[in-house]
């Protein structure tokens, strides 16, 4: 089983560079995931409280060619073979996004058959050719599922406005609270009960809903998220001039910042601080009893907010624990027949899991409401076969999008 993937040239190099920089704010490494329809770049931070995905459709590139050689038993399934790259090795390639456009005539990205490298080649002025061979790690697909369309609050705004707002906060400001009612919108510095007010400068910005291109507030809410992770997306959006859509719910539920146009889509999904653990899911459905407990190890990784916010319950809610146990339930391959970024996975797909027990489907539906997910598929047959493609193919019969889910501790 081999995968050959060639991407050549760019319509807009600075846009690609800014996307890399935006993702760099999330984590040190990212998933480089080419599929037939385009190239997806994904990243998740170590505490699993921030997820980014930028998808460039094949039309974004001057030339895009992706081929997979599949075995007959594949039955026409297309495979994706994502790989992980270290951001630090890629950033120098796109260091000065503005300079790139002037000096670089062409940029090619390709991966050879059986190659252990992804190669970025820049053809610059005066015949200079810069070649970067970056070693990658093969890895499990990464994907988050977040039902944007189920969010009661939706704001759409030009990136300039967001940038003008965020400039009032110091560069060191970690968390910011967004507070909405149908009548007003307010961004303010995050404070908690034991904030030392005598040492902290607080900033608050009040806006009129009329300033937004689209303003829908279904439920009054106050959500607190990490500003640092967002700044990259704002810069990226300014490069593309595409407005940013904000989808969110009440505190505790993730907030999604996304941009979308004909050739690219980007989503940054950030966890938000929850006020109190209000979940009442004390009973655990029996269908989960057989789940693997390996997720507990992941559960011990707390987000930074856990350490800094002593007010929050140190233990996860029972619901969270359930969700964790759901991890590794079905080591199925990530469905690669995507129309767009994985984020846009619908409610409909969840309900289509007819083969699963009804109860399980219901719980999975509930999960998408509650938190930030991403499925890291773990192949049970990893040890059996060297090639990941092979093991993916034999993993499961069902077309399940997310085998492993873990709640992002918030």
């Amino acid at each position: 089983i081999y995968l050959k993937c060639i991407l050549c040239c760019f319509l807009s190099l600075p846009v690609f560079g800014r996307a890399i920089h935006a993702i760099a704010r999330i984590s040190d490494e990212f998933w480089f995931d080419p599929i037939e329809k385009g190239l997806a770049l994904r990243s998740v931070n170590s505490s699993r409280s921030a997820y980014a995905c930028v998808f460039f459709s094949s039309m974004f590139f001057q030339h895009y060619c992706w081929t997979a050689v599949s075995q007959p038993c594949q039955k026409g399934k297309q495979l994706s073979l994502p790989c992980k790259l270290i951001i630090k090795s890629v950033l120098p390639v796109f260091r000065c996004a503005n300079v790139l456009e002037r000096n670089v005539e062409k940029c090619s990205i390709y991966r050879n058959i059986n190659g252990r490298h992804i190669t970025f080649q820049l053809l610059c002025k005066h015949g200079v050719v810069k070649t970067y061979n970056l070693t990658f790690q093969e890895c499990d697909p990464l994907q988050a599922v977040f039902a944007k369309h189920l969010c009661p609050n939706v704001l759409k705004v030009h990136s300039r406005l967001l940038a003008d707002i965020m400039i009032h906060f110091p560069a060191s400001q970690e968390e910011v609270t967004l507070s909405v009612t149908p009548m007003k919108v307010c961004f303010k510095s995050y404070t908690e009960e034991d904030t030392d007010f005598s040492k902290t400068m607080l900033t608050e910005i009040q806006l009129n809903p009329k300033e937004f291109d689209y303003f829908q507030v279904g439920v009054d809410s106050e959500v607190t998220f990490c500003l640092k992770e967002l700044r990259g997306l704002i810069a990226f959006s300014e490069a593309t001039s595409v407005p940013i859509s904000i989808h969110f719910d009440i505190s505790g539920k993730p907030i999604a910042f996304s941009i979308e146009d004909m050739v690219l889509e980007a989503s940054f999904i950030l966890a938000t601080l929850s006020e109190a653990e209000k979940e009442t899911a004390s009973q655990q459905p029996s269908c989960f009893s057989e789940q693997q407990e390996s997720a507990e190890a992941i559960a011990s990784k707390k987000p930074p907010w856990y350490e800094n916010a002593p007010n929050m319950k140190p233990n996860m809610s029972p619901l969270a624990k359930q969700e964790l146990r759901n991890i590794a339930r079905v080591p199925s391959p990530v469905v690669t027949d995507r129309e767009g970024p994985a984020m846009a996975k619908d409610h409909a797909v969840l309900e289509g899991e007819a083969t699963e027990s009804h109860q399980k489907v219901r719980m999975q539906v509930v999960f998408t409401f509650h938190s930030l997910f991403f499925g890291a598929v773990s192949c049970k047959e990893k040890d059996a076969v060297s090639h990941p493609c092979h093991s993916l193919a034999t993993a499961s019969d069902t077309e399940e999008d997310f085998g492993n889910m873990q709640r992002s501790p918030v």
Binding site: L161, I167, H168, P170, F197, S198, K199, T200, M201, L202, T203, E204, I205, Q206, L207, N208, K210, E211
Partner: protein, 224 residues
């Protein structure tokens, strides 16, 4: 009071109608930076969780109603018994008073000198001459300014200090920390209407920068 469109102050008591506040300048500077395009700008002393300067800035926006940015800057209120510590020093009996050269020029000279030495000597006389000197084991550097002019000061008995028989060519000098001078010069963003300095030999250098409604005075003590 004339500087502001509106100004209200109520101090501790009628005969002590002043308030002394201590704050982190970085906070106020940041708040002011965001107000560059402001329609209106208001500062209020409030006490929410603790004493704060509430800076409310009204910014223009795309819609009919403005954007309002509020910064709460924590301040410490200084009790009356400590007010004496912050009393403004009176203008000293200086030996020489002289107008400063163009601040931009002075700034670039001092910045380069800062790399060579920690101390700088300012000397000036009543003939409009000023020298900035540094001296290290390896090198001495002096920058000479001429024709600066000396401001006329009327002393209490009506005659100018220059009439007190001081030799016009004689230099009064003071050796000060160069970093402090450099900070003073770096902080000037707008050219003042008048800029001068008074030197008390070996004691203190007193800088006075005058803008339309605002005066800035700096006292830098001399070092041995």
């Amino acid at each position: 009071g004339n500087f502001f469109d509106e100004f209200q102050l109520e101090g501790v008591a009628a005969e002590h109608n002043e308030i002394y506040l201590e704050l982190v300048p970085e906070n106020l500077s940041r708040a002011l930076k965001t107000a560059q395009t402001a329609k209106t700008f208001k500062i209020k002393l409030t006490n929410k969780h603790c004493p704060c300067l509430r800076v409310a800035v009204e910014l223009p926006s795309l819609s009919s109603s403005s954007r309002i940015v509020t910064h709460d800057i924590p301040v410490g209120v200084i009790p009356r018994r400590l007010w004496n510590d912050f009393r403004e020093p009176s203008v000293p009996d200086f030996d020489v008073s002289i107008y400063l050269p163009a601040l931009k020029t002075m700034k670039s000279v001092v910045e380069r000198m800062k790399n060579l030495s920690n101390f700088i000597v300012i000397e000036a006389n009543l003939s409009g001459e000023m020298n900035l000197k540094i001296e290290t084991d390896l090198v001495c550097v002096t920058t000479h300014f001429k024709d600066l002019g000396n401001p006329p000061w009327a002393s209490e008995d009506g005659c100018q200090s220059s009439a007190r028989g001081r030799d016009l060519e004689s230099m009064a000098e003071a050796r000060i920390d160069i970093k402090k001078l450099q900070q003073l010069l770096a902080g000037q963003q707008v050219n003042p209407t008048k800029a001068l300095c008074n030197i008390v030999s070996q004691r203190v250098v007193h800088f006075v920068l005058l803008h339309e409604d605002v005066s800035l005075q700096y006292f830098i003590p001399a070092l041995a």
